[in-house]
Amino acid sequence: MTYPFDSLPANLAAFCDVLRDHRFRIGPRELQDAARALEITELFDERAVRNVLRPVLAGTFAEVHAFDRIFDRFFLRPAAVPAPATAAPAKTIADQAPPSGDPDLGRGAATDGDTAEEAAERGESQGAVQDVADAEGESTVALLRASYSPLDAEGAVLDLEPADRPWREAAAMLVSRVRAGRSRRWRPAARGPRFDLRRTLRSSLHTGGEVLSPRWQSRPRRRPRFVLLIDGSRSMATHTWPALQTAVGLAAVTLNTETFSFSTALRRITRDVRRAAGGERRLLQLHHAWGGGTAIGTCLREFLRLFGERLLGRDTLVMIASDGLDVGDPAVLRDAMAGISRQAAGIVWLNPLLGTPGYEPTALGMRIARPYVTTFASVTEPADLARLARVLRIR
């Protein structure tokens, strides 16, 4: 095993710096634990060192996978190590000639330690979600873009505004309409099905154990969860704003709101939506998620695979805002809709074309999705959202 620097503390500190550059969350405590962990291992054994440092310094599945690559580059190819970025370790190694930089180890490639969700949030092509499009073949993606994007819309920027009062009120109506099930947690309540023995006993001490004022417990309702999947393809360009306002309005009312955009790839935009809900005006860099054609089925399948288990449940209402113009495999869309339908409380399809006179949902995507949708609606203004709250159907 070769080392970039002379002393063990310097090597460890520099290695932790590189990990931090890759967005590992390493503080003084982790550094201290890593040093203690090295005390119990044989330092001449590269595998043993790797095995003691990994549980201490990598805290998630994604970090575990990134850790080995970074470890190899740092300790086994020391020439590739960049100059440590932070001041503290730099002092320790002040006398050392800084190793030559490796672009792969720099901040530019700092996606190794990210979770797939974080990658999806940034819409980076290295991210797992975008990889789906890659897996389908770049040529297919290029074809989709060419057929739906005569103009290059990749750099499009959308203004994400804080939701004004009518949107928030309509969103609040919608939240109140979704009645989630009861929690398993018992809470003190004025009335309820269960005796609160602890509080009853306390109150009866004054009466010699005679229960004159029994106390009760009940199970509160869980909070419903909303998942919005917004079609960002060019054919939806003029209709995305109300869908995003719906998302921002819901995020202002409940924290249990997750928002994604999709076209040829899925992108999580929850963080932007939450900031907009908090009153911050956001410019949403749309990347190509908003430019190309729509592979609805592929994107919904990816949503199911990456987020389904975590976000879907009997208290989750899924809202898909799309015109249903799908260019993907119909079987994939059918399977994805069936999967979401099975796991969620209901699927609302927000189709902006629904309000168009004479419109029939004959697009292939719509025909496939229809059996799984519990409510169809078109939302262009707050009143529409309030109307949706009244007609909403869930299982």
């Binding site: 119990i40 291992t41 095995n51 805290g59 998630t60 575990v64 797992a128 947690r185 695979r305 288990e309």
Partner: protein
């Protein structure tokens, strides 16, 4: 032999195969006195590892099974209310003051210790298994942070109880929700993936010694194929073991199409997954036809099968 290797050997003696990385992580739990958060797909032995660790250390295993709605009192302690009521009624007319009566009924005699308190008051460090911590609410997670940091519990009526021998803590999570950064930072972390082909064969032999070489290889290879399919519930090691036992009970020494049909319920637990397998049946055919010999290049699949954070696209 290093401490980790000794631990690995002790686990193997008990029929539990761990690789050196996991053995090292367990060694760190003992050396650094930090909890270990173990994540991985269902059925890869997360819970079992804590049980075996307790056995290896010759100490008590205390298990806290988490679920939605679990609160601090259920995990920590509860007063024995019926006994308290009885005592109040029995002591009527003895002329005791309210304070005296309170001191009497809120004493250790009336305390029902739940897993966390039980783990704190042990005279020898037990193994505390906090199972499926992702199923508990965020509020409980915050409470857990406090306990894991201080190893002391304050009971208003009794005072503060501090652990003399803090337990060795193993937390498991199936990632049904994301755990907080704060909890992760207080723990060591280990991801248990599905075993490689060689590991799975070793596990099958360790747990079911009467299993033939051929059948073990066939089951392990079938599992590698099945875990590569887009199943809703990919089978874990627990399913491999169940499957092997089922086939042995049918007095068969190898896997063929008929046995596969008869025993598929041990492996696939969702109707839709049976349909997926039907459309990929040809991928299993070489396993059923062949001698089931160990093929070179068996490896642990680099995916968490839909649990999240997958960095490779599924083909």
């Amino acid at each position: 032999m290093s401490a980790a290797a000794a631990l690995q050997a002790s686990f193997r003696e008990r029929g539990f195969i761990v690789d050196d990385a996991f053995a090292t992580a367990l060694q760190l739990v003992l050396a650094l006195r930090k909890p270990l958060l173990v994540e991985g797909p269902a059925g890869v032995g997360k819970t079992e590892s804590a049980k075996v660790l307790a056995d290896v250390l010759g100490t008590r295993l205390i298990r806290l099974q988490c679920y939605e709605g679990l609160d601090a009192l259920t995990a920590l302690y509860e007063w024995n209310y019926p006994r308290q009521m009885l005592r109040i009624r029995m002591s009527e007319g003895e002329g005791e003051s309210l304070q005296q009566r309170e001191a009497q009924i809120f004493s250790e005699e009336f305390l029902l210790k739940r897993p966390l308190l039980e783990a704190i008051v042990q005279h020898e460090a037990p193994v505390l298994l906090i199972d499926e911590v992702d199923r508990a609410d965020e509020a409980f997670e915050a409470f857990l942070l406090e306990v894991l940091a201080e190893w002391q519990v304050t009971i208003p009526e009794l005072g503060t109880i501090r652990a003399q021998h803090p337990p060795h803590v193993i937390l498991t999570s199936n990632r049904t929700r994301e755990l907080s950064d704060a909890l992760r930072r207080r723990c060591l972390f280990f991801w248990i993936p599905y075993p490689s082909l060689e590991q799975e064969i070793a596990i099958l032999h360790a747990r079911i010694p009467e299993l033939s070489e051929r059948l073990a290889a066939q089951i392990a290879r079938s599992m590698q194929v099945l875990r590569g399919l887009p199943l809703q519930k990919a089978p874990g090691v627990a399913e491999s073991l169940d499957w092997a036992r089922a086939i042995i009970n049918l007095h068969r020494d190898h896997l063929d199409l008929q046995v596969l049909e008869q025993t598929l319920g041990c492996v696939l637990k969702v109707r839709e997954d049976h349909e997926v397998l039907d459309s990929h049946r040809d991928e299993l055919q070489p396993v059923l036809d062949g001698p089931g010999s160990l093929q070179p290049g068996g490896h642990s699949l680099d995916t968490d099968f839909g649990l999240g954070s997958v960095s490779q696209p599924r083909k």
